[in-house]
Every structure is written in structure tokens, then in C-alpha cells.
């Protein structure tokens, strides 16, 4: 053992080794820190600052280039701008790397000086309290280890809880078993996939059993399990057959032109003139009626319940009510716009194909019934969440493909197998919309799905969902007017932006646009209509007519339009709608009002009309009306 004197002699000095050295070192460290912070702040600004040439500038030039693809000057301008963007990007990266290098150097100097300062300022340790007794430390340590074990268990339980939704071994095993049981079907499927047909066999679709709790006597037999047919056996309605029916929203190709014979041009509910029948629709909705043969279909829904109704076109008798159990994944708390909230649960118009009727509801579910009301399948297709006005795109049918547009968490355009509901394709859309898609056959014979949205109008191939063309920077805002087609041109419009005529055979090339009117405004909810020579639309208090060159023919002040029903041309007469009135007037370059047909005062017309030879079907005031020539 050393003596106390030895200890004192050997002890390190208690004073800082060098006050001056310590202060110098700390000062250097402080300066290095401040310089590094300055460099760091510049770096943060460099990181956060945008480019001076923005994507918008490139985007607008891109639009010009799309219009004038052969213009060498525009091409050159685009190249130069693109090169500038790249130079700007690399200059920024260079600044960034240089800054990072000097930041590291600065931090290094600061740390080194700080360490030297700390070392030079080191003082003699002066322990005061004796260390804690070891038994006490051990006891507390054991307790803390036990606490740690408890924490580990909590984390384990949490992970197990989180993992409960993962697919378990039994599910995988039963899936293997199912597939092996259906091996022959799978073989034929793999053959189909080799030939480019990626549709699935219908076996995996689990048709939903209809709700049997309803006392509606007209409900079809719900206990029969629907058996989808072999796709090879199914014959689809041809494209031309749709021209003879009013099977979609605004009829064939969304044209809203009716040339059926014997359509009455006047009626009055008060006098009963030409009101063939009037039947209540059990549930509310904004969807329009559709007709195939002698059957009229319409939908209604609430947040809790969704139904499809089939009426006899001649008598108005409700033939059946189609019900189904909702998929548990379908949300019930999706958005609906306040002013029409009760109606938006059934806003999309259904579609029929001669053997089946398909309907979509506000929660993103699509359902298929056959014409006898038997449920074939139901599916939750996509989430309508984050759609502030609600899900509103109407359905289309092409061959066996059901075309579904849902805007929500994704901008969706889906092709579903009409027999099974399984997804065949998904189209990549560009902008959001509340308008419905339309199915058209171009003058060159190409069938396309046309979608108008903010800020584009796009064409898609209904066979595989591939985008065929995209006209950008045309529309804007919350696009709701559905585009229309006159056999040559597609017309799309939105209030505050423009009405455009596009050529679908030339990748949506814009032929003309109307963006300024004298005092009227472009439509914000209803759709335009055209007879090939003129285009009409209305909004607020004005009816507007544009000729086929994009020139305004007239802006007619009316009493005011308070309806979501869109204008329709019926046997050469223009029908417009306001509240409970159908205003009939002339087509052509001059407006002449010929008739105002009225329903009951509370029968507001928010759905567009549907037609069959000799008959008009109107949804208004919770009823389905049939207008036909009567004796009265």
C-alpha cells in the first residue's frame, strides 16, 4: 500500500491544464460550429427551394407540343427548356455536395477542438458519496430486468395482435387444395392467359346471398345460389343493339338523342294528360332510369341499404327488388356532399345488356342481377373515400366488360368481367371527375371509353383499359358534366373553363373551344347535347347554342334552371329541365319555346329521362313516371 504522502505526490493536478489553451480550443470549436450552422442552413434552403423553371412551364409547353407535334420551333424550345432544367438540377446537386463536404469538415474541426478543450479543461475528480451497496444495486437491477421482460411481453402481444390479420397456414393450405381440386379449370385458364386473355374463371367469386329480411313480396327467390355461366356460352348484346335501347345514362353513346317513334311532346300531371302510370320508387337516388325492352330499371339507396328496382314498362308494376348483403370491406362513412347527401348513395346510373342489369352505389359496390332479379354477383370494387361529393360515375357495358369509374383514394377506371365481377383491367387516369364515362364508336370504327376530368379528356380502349389519347389542360375545377358525342366529335365542358370539341380519331385533337360567352356561363353539372350541327347547354338562367364551328349562336335567357337533368333532343325537339318542368323548344339556329310540360309541384326532375318507343320515363319526386300517349 502507498502512504498518503505518496498518493498526494502522484495525484494528477486538479486545476485545468491550461486555461488559455482551453479557451482557445473552445473558441475554435464555437467558430467552427457557427460556420457549420451557416453552411447547414444554406443546405437546408437549397434542399427546400424549388427550381426556377418549374414543371408547370414544361407542362404548358408539352401541351403546345401535343397540339403541334411537327412544329420544329416548339420542339427546339422544349429541348432547350428541358436542358435548362437539367443544368439547374446538376448545379443544385453540385452546391449540395460541396456544402455537405464543408459541413463535415466544419463538424470535424468543431469536435476536435471541443475534445481538446474538454481535455485541457479537465479537473480532478472529487467523488463525494460512496457507491451504492451492491446488494441494493442488484435488487433494483433484478426488478428492472423483470420490468424489461414485461415490456418485451407487451411488445410481443402487440405484434401478435398486429399480425392476426395475416393469412394463416390453413388459409394457404385450403387455397392450395381448392386450386388442385380445380386443376382442369386452371389449365384452361393458363391456356387463356397465354393467349392474352387474363380473365379469371368465376370460381373464386363468392356471390353474396340476398338479404331475406325484407317483406317485399316481389323479391325474387333468394335461396337459389346463382351459378355464373361458362363465358364461352354467353352471347353479348352487340354494340348496335344498344342503339335500339336506352340502356345507359343519356342513352346510346351518351348522345341524349332520342329518335324513337310516337314519343309524346306534351303532358301534364294535373290534368293527367299522357301520364301513363306513376309508381313510387322505395328509396332515394340521383341515378337516371334505363330501359331494355319492356323493363325499366332504377336504383335507390341509403347509407345502410342499396336496392335495384325493375318495373314493367307498360304497366308500371314493380316486378322485383334486387337486394344483396354488403361486403364488409365497403365503407359506410364515405363522403357525401351536404346538399344532395341523401341522393348520392345511388347517384351512378345502372346499365343493362339484355340479360343482366348492373348497378353501382355510393360505397363503391357494384352488383349484378339477371333480368329475373336473381343476384349473380356483387363486389366492392374500390374505395370512394376522399371523394368530397360522392361516387357518381355511371356504368357502361361493352361486350362482356363492365366499365366502372370510381374516384376516391385512387382515380379508378376498371374493367370487370360481366359474368363474374372479377377485374380484367385497370386504366390509368389522370384527373379527378364527377362526370360519367361514355362509350363511343369513332368515325373510323374504334370503340373508346371517353372520360372528362380535371384537367383532361381521355380516351381508353374498352378491351384492355389502355389509354389511347389524352387532351390535357382543357377542363378544370370539379368536373361534373358528362361529355357527349354526335357521331363525329366529342364535346366536353366545365363552367369557368371551356366547352371543347375533340376529334377522337386524332388522339383527342381539339377542333375548337368556347371559353368566353357574353353573359351566360358554361355548365357545371348538366351535360351538353348535340345534333351534329349545334351544341346546346344550359346553366343557371341561360340556354346557350353553339354551332359546329364553335361560334355562339344565341344565349337565351330563361326563367332559370334548377335541375340536374341534362338536355335531350327528342325527335328534333330540344328538351330542357327545370324543377318539375320539361321545357320543349326548337333545335336549329333559333330558339322557340313550344311547350312547358309540368309534373306535380314537388316532383323535381334531377335525373335525366329514359326512352322506349312511345314512352318517356322520368324520375321525379320519389316516383317513376311513364309518359305515353293516352286517351285522356
Amino acid at each position: 500500500m502507498m502512504s498518503e504522502a505518496d498518493q498526494t505526490a502522484a495525484a494528477p493536478t486538479g486545476e485545468p491544464i491550461s486555461r488559455l489553451g482551453r479557451n482557445v480550443a473552445w473558441s475554435v470549436a464555437l467558430i467552427a460550429a457557427l460556420l457549420s450552422i451557416a453552411v447547414g442552413v444554406v443546405l437546408v434552403f437549397t434542399y427546400a427551394s424549388g427550381e426556377t423553371i418549374t414543371e408547370e412551364q414544361l407542362g404548358s409547353l408539352r401541351a403546345v407540343l401535343a397540339e403541334q407535334p411537327d412544329n420544329e420551333a416548339v420542339k427546339q424550345q422544349f429541348r432547350e427548356l428541358d436542358a435548362k432544367v437539367r443544368q439547374q438540377y446538376h448545379a443544385r446537386i453540385d452546391r449540395y455536395e460541396t456544402g455537405a463536404f464543408w459541413l463535415v469538415i466544419g463538424i470535424g474541426v468543431m469536435l476536435l477542438s471541443g475534445a481538446i478543450g474538454a481535455e485541457l479543461g479537465r479537473e480532478l475528480p472529487a467523488p463525494e458519496q460512496a457507491p451504492e451497496p451492491e446488494p441494493l444495486v442488484q435488487r433494483i437491477s433484478r426488478a428492472s430486468v423483470a420490468f424489461g421482460v414485461g415490456l418485451l411481453c407487451v411488445v410481443g402481444v402487440y405484434l401478435a395482435y398486429q399480425g392476426r390479420t395475416a393469412i394463416d397456414e390453413e388459409q394457404f393450405a385450403s387455397a392450395i387444395h381448392e386450386i388442385e381440386q380445380k386443376e382442369p379449370a386452371d389449365k384452361s385458364q393458363s391456356l387463356a392467359s397465354k393467349t392474352g386473355n387474363t380473365e379469371k374463371t368465376p370460381d373464386n367469386v363468392k356471390p353474396t346471398q340476398p338479404d331475406t329480411g325484407d317483406d317485399d313480396t316481389s323479391q325474387p327467390d333468394a335461396n337459389e345460389t346463382p351459378q355464373p355461366k361458362d363465358p364461352a356460352e354467353v352471347k353479348y348484346a352487340s354494340y348496335e343493339e344498344y342503339a335500339k335501347q336506352w340502356a345507359t345514362f343519356r342513352g346510346f353513346e351518351g348522345r341524349a338523342v332520342c329518335n324513337f317513334k310516337d314519343i309524346p311532346q306534351e303532358w301534364n300531371e294535373e290534368t293527367g294528360k299522357n301520364i301513363a302510370w306513376k309508381s313510387p320508387i322505395p328509396m332515394k337516388g340521383l341515378s337516371s332510369p334505363i330501359v331494355w325492352g319492356d323493363k325499366v330499371f332504377v336504383t335507390g339507396a341509403s347509407r345502410e341499404k342499396r336496392e335495384v328496382y325493375c318495373f314493367d314498362a307498360k304497366t308500371g308494376q314493380k316486378l322485383w327488388t334486387g337486394q344483396y348483403k354488403s361486403n364488409p370491406d365497403a365503407p359506410s362513412d364515405y363522403d357525401v356532399y351536404d346538399s344532395v347527401s341523401e341522393l348520392m348513395h345511388a347517384a351512378p346510373t345502372p346499365v343493362a345488356d339484355g340479360t343482366h342489369v348492373y348497378a353501382m352505389f355510393g360505397n363503391g359496390e357494384v352488383v349484378c342481377f339477371d333480368f329475373n332479379g336473381k343476384l349473380v354477383w356483387s363486389r366492392y370494387v374500390a374505395s370512394p373515400m376522399d371523394n368530397m361529393y360522392g361516387n357518381s360515375g355511371s356504368l357502361l357495358k361493352y361486350k362482356n366488360t363492365l366499365i366502372v369509374l370510381i374516384d376516391g383514394e385512387e382515380l379508378g377506371l376498371y374493367g370487370l368481367n360481366g359474368l363474374t365481377g372479377k377485374q380484367i383491367w385497370s386504366g390509368e387516369r389522370y384527373g379527378n371527375t364527377w362526370a360519367s364515362p361514355i362509350l363511343i364508336k369513332t368515325p373510323k370504327g374504334k370503340v373508346q371509353v371517353v372520360v372528362s376530368s380535371n384537367p383532361t379528356v381521355e380516351g381508353f380502349d374498352p378491351n384492355d383499359g389502355k389509354n389511347l389519347w389524352r387532351s390535357e389542360n382543357i377542363l378544370g375545377g370539379d368536373v361534373a358534366p358528362t361529355p357527349t358525342f354526335d357521331g363525329q366529335r366529342v364535346y366536353a365542358a366545365m363552367n369557368g373553363y371551356s366547352l371543347v370539341a375533340l376529334d377522337p380519331d386524332r388522339e383527342g385533337k381539339m377542333l375548337w373551344e368556347v371559353w368566353e360567352l357574353e353573359y351566360a356561363s358554361l355548365p357545371d353539372a348538366t351535360s351538353p347535347v348535340s345534333d351534329g350541327k349545334h351544341v346546346w347547354f344550359y346553366h343557371a338562367a341561360d340556354l346557350v347554342c353553339i354551332n359546329d364551328k364553335g361560334e355562339t349562336i344565341y344565349e337565351q335567357e330563361m326563367d332559370g334552371y334548377t335541375s340536374y337533368a341534362s338536355p335531350t333532343i327528342v325527335n328534333g325537339k330540344l328538351w330542357t329541365f327545370s324543377d318539375n318542368k320539361t321545357i320543349v323548344g326548337t333545335t336549329g339556329a333559333e330558339w322557340k319555346q313550344t311547350r312547358v310540360n309540368e309534373l306535380a309541384k314537388n316532383a323535381r326532375l334531377d335525373a335525366s329521362p329514359a326512352f322506349a318507343p312511345g314512352r318517356v320515363f322520368l324520375r321525379a319526386g320519389g316516383h317513376l313516371y311513364c309518359i305515353a300517349k293516352t286517351e285522356k
Binding site: 446537386i93 475528480p125 467523488p127 395475416a166
Partner: protein, 434 residues
């Protein structure tokens, strides 16, 4: 000091932004006549580089050993640490490293057909062997992850010893998970969550950079938090250190229990003497010891069972199981190709049934792996409880063989060291004069 810590944290955050990966510029949208070069994998590192790395690792550890055990030079250790940080950190960019090599070893042991490169095996083995011989000189001087924390340690404070004991178990949990995931071919957990490699490479994902920044900020006053409370390889080296042939001694001669070194170690690796416990009270802890011994198999079994029950969430990290689940959900929903993975799978020839079967096999592997990993963690915790119930007599201040990182910081606090140095100097001078 608070100002210094604040400045350091601020700078670390700014550095985080500086190192975060930025967006890449898109290829042009028009024909420019420029032909994009074909992407190709970078050439493998030349063999002689591997030899240099291994030689520098072994040489560095031996030099550190000489500096710590023989020369007792803190300055030498500090310079070596900075050199190792520059070479193994910034020049070699933190790879290969012995910490990550644990996973290569685990995968090559548990997966048939998976080998291990000689350089990786040597990086794994050399620090283990040298630690068994001379203590954790690798951790103290050569490990770049330790070095970067060492240079940012400004104002060390002591972590309570009871907390040190419980936090010291975290690396074992991390190790067991890392081995489980590597052995099943799921992922290299240690590499993916390496908190400092982004600094070495001047690039990395933002969450990892933030993690690294937080550790460095914490490390300004808590010595080497990653090494002590996270590093899985450090857990193994701790065991090796306990068995080491040579070890760090605080004093070069006999300890006088002056208490000056009591708080010298920023890593809590100095154990005080405990011979003050009265002999007649030494039997008091027997109950706790018996309980701890019983707890070893109980904890191993309980946590092993718990680990097996976690096979579902743990297996989610295996890409094959994830793919099987995605395909299964797509099949159920009647959709196809919702993600790139499923599109790629469907473009291939592997039947869905085979994929499902693979997923089930992997689940089974994770079931048994969960048993082993959980059981191992339970055993370690049990043994820790045993250790905390055993009383060993220490008559002087000792460097904890397991925890000591051989950084040589404690030497300068020892008065005997100062006398020894003075005597040594005098002796050298007189020898020189003669």
C-alpha cells in the same frame, strides 16, 4: 456545455438533411440522339483490397492491444480510433464490418447452399479471437461505429447501474432477431438499420439518418449508446471479453482504492470494490439466486413459446411470404397485378400453389426459429438474473471484463498511473544518460 450540446444536435440534424437522398432527374421525353448507357453492376472489389482490409483489421487490433495493454496510451488509442473511423468508416464506407458479418455467418450456417466469403468470415472471427485473448480492443479503437460515437462524446454522464443491466439485454434481443431473419433469408436487419453507415456514405434514407442523428446526439453525454445498448456483435464480444486471457487494469500496480477513477469510465465499466458486505449477511441473497436459477428454464420456455407465436408477424418480413399474401389477397378480391411484385410473379412460371406451399414452409421455419430465438433470449435474461444474484468479492476498483471497451480513458485518473509513468520516465532518462 449545454450550448455545445445544442450546437452539436443542430449540426447533426443539418447533416441529416445534407446526407438525405434526393430525387433523381428523369430521362428526357424526346429523342435527343443520346444513347443512355446500359445499367451494369459495379465491378466486384479486387481481392487484394480484401487482403488489405483484413490485414488492417488484424494489424489495427494488435496495435490497439499494444497501445492499451502495454503502452497504456490514451492518445495513441484516440489517434488509432480517428484513423479507423477514416479508413473503415469513410473510405471503406462501413462494409464489410464484423457486426453485419454475424448475419452472413448465420445464413451460411442455417441455409444450405449459402456460403460465406473468406473476407467476411475473417472479419467475423478476428475480433472474436482477439477479444478472447486481449479484451475488447476492437470495440475501443477499430470499430468505425464505435469510433464515430467516441469522437462525439463531449460531456459523459453515468447511466445508473441498474438501468445499464436491463438495457444491456436489448442487444441480445436484437441479435436473436437478426440471426432469425438472416437464417431464414428474410433480410439483413443489422445492415438495414445501421444508424451510421449513411454518414459514411454521405447518403441514406431519411428515417435511418434521423435514427443515427438521435444516437449521436444522445452519445454526446451517454457514452456509445449503440455499442452498449444495441450492438448485437458487442453482446457476443461482451461474453468473449469476460473469458479473455489478458485484460485492462485501471492501475498498472496495486490499487489504493482512492476512488478517483470511480466515474472515469463513460461506459459504466468500472466496478467498485464490494468487500464491505458483512460475511454474516452474505447468505441473504440465496433465495434470489435459487429463484433466478429456476427462472432460466422457465423464461427460456415462456419466451420460446412466445417467439413461436409470433411466427405470423415475423414472417411478414420474408419477401416470399409477403408475396404469397399479396397473391392470395388478389385472388380473393378477384384482381391481378396490384403491385410490381405480383405482376412480376404472374409473369413467371411458378404456380400459385408452389408459392403458397413455400409460404407455409417458411411459416413453419419461423415457428421453430421463434422457439429458438425466444428461448435464447429467455435463457440470456435468466442468466442475467443469476448474475445479479451472485456476489463476487472485489477488493479494489476493476474494469468490467465484459463491458470494458479498452479505450484507456481511466488510466489518467489513477494516481498510481502517474507515479508509474514518472518512474518509467526517470528510468528511461537514466538509462539514456548511462
Amino acid at each position: 456545455m449545454r450550448v455545445a450540446v445544442f450546437l452539436l444536435v443542430l449540426l447533426a440534424l443539418l447533416a441529416g438533411v445534407a446526407f438525405a437522398e434526393g430525387p433523381r432527374v428523369e430521362p428526357p421525353e424526346f429523342e435527343s440522339g443520346y444513347t443512355l448507357p446500359n445499367p451494369s453492376d459495379p465491378a466486384a472489389k479486387a481481392e487484394w483490397w480484401h487482403a488489405v482490409d483484413v490485414a488492417l483489421l488484424a494489424g489495427g487490433i494488435l496495435l490497439a492491444t499494444v497501445l492499451v495493454l502495454k503502452r497504456r496510451s490514451r492518445l495513441g488509442v484516440l489517434l488509432l480510433t480517428v484513423g479507423a473511423l477514416i479508413y473503415f468508416g469513410f473510405i471503406r464506407q462501413g462494409c464489410v464490418c464484423p457486426i453485419g458479418a454475424v448475419q452472413n455467418v448465420a445464413q451460411s450456417v442455417f441455409q444450405s447452399g449459402v456460403g460465406i466469403a473468406a473476407v467476411v468470415a475473417l472479419f467475423f472471427a478476428i475480433p472474436l479471437v482477439t477479444t478472447l485473448l486481449f479484451g475488447r480492443t476492437f470495440c475501443g479503437s477499430i470499430c468505425p461505429l464505435g469510433a464515430i460515437q467516441d469522437v462525439t462524446l463531449l460531456k459523459p454522464i453515468q447511466v445508473p447501474r441498474w438501468l445499464e443491466h436491463s438495457l444491456g439485454l436489448v442487444p441480445w434481443v436484437y441479435l436473436s432477431l437478426a440471426v432469425l431473419f438472416a437464417a431464414t433469408g428474410s433480410l439483413y436487419l443489422i445492415c438495414q438499420f445501421d444508424p451510421f453507415v449513411a454518414f459514411f456514405r454521405f447518403a441514406g434514407p431519411m428515417p435511418i439518418i434521423v435514427f443515427g442523428v438521435c444516437l449521436l446526439a444522445l452519445g454526446t453525454f451517454i457514452g456509445r449508446p449503440y455499442c452498449r445498448f444495441l450492438c448485437p456483435y458487442g453482446a457476443i464480444l461482451r461474453v468473449c471479453g469476460r473469458l479473455s486471457w489478458k485484460r485492462v487494469t485501471i492501475t498498472p500496480e496495486e490499487c489504493v482504492n482512492c476512488r478517483l477513477c470511480e466515474d472515469a469510465c463513460p461506459f459504466g465499466a468500472i466496478n467498485p470494490p464490494n468487500d464491505q458486505v458483512r460475511r454474516d449477511r452474505r447468505t441473504e441473497g440465496k433465495g434470489a439466486l435459487i429463484g433466478a436459477i429456476i427462472a432460466v428454464p422457465v423464461l427460456a420456455a415462456a419466451l420460446g413459446w412466445g417467439g413461436s407465436m409470433l411466427r405470423k408477424p415475423l414472417s411478414q418480413l420474408h419477401p416470399r411470404v409477403r408475396l404469397a399474401q399479396m397473391i392470395y389477397l388478389e385472388e380473393q378480391a378477384g384482381v391481378e397485378g396490384k403491385s410490381e411484385e405480383t405482376q412480376f410473379f404472374r409473369a413467371g412460371k411458378t404456380p400459385v400453389t408452389e408459392l403458397y406451399a413455400q409460404a407455409n414452409d417458411l411459416r413453419s421455419t419461423f415457428y421453430w426459429g421463434g422457439w429458438l430465438a425466444g428461448g435464447f433470449v429467455g435463457m440470456v435474461i435468466g442468466l442475467k438474473l443469476v448474475e445479479l444474484s451472485v456476489r463476487r468479492t472485489r477488493t479494489e476498483y476493476e474494469a468490467d471484463r465484459g463491458k470494458c471497451l479498452a479505450c484507456a480513458r481511466c488510466y489518467r485518473y489513477c494516481p498510481i498511473e502517474h507515479r508509474w509513468r514518472k518512474q518509467k520516465k526517470t528510468k528511461e532518462t537514466s538509462t539514456h544518460d548511462e
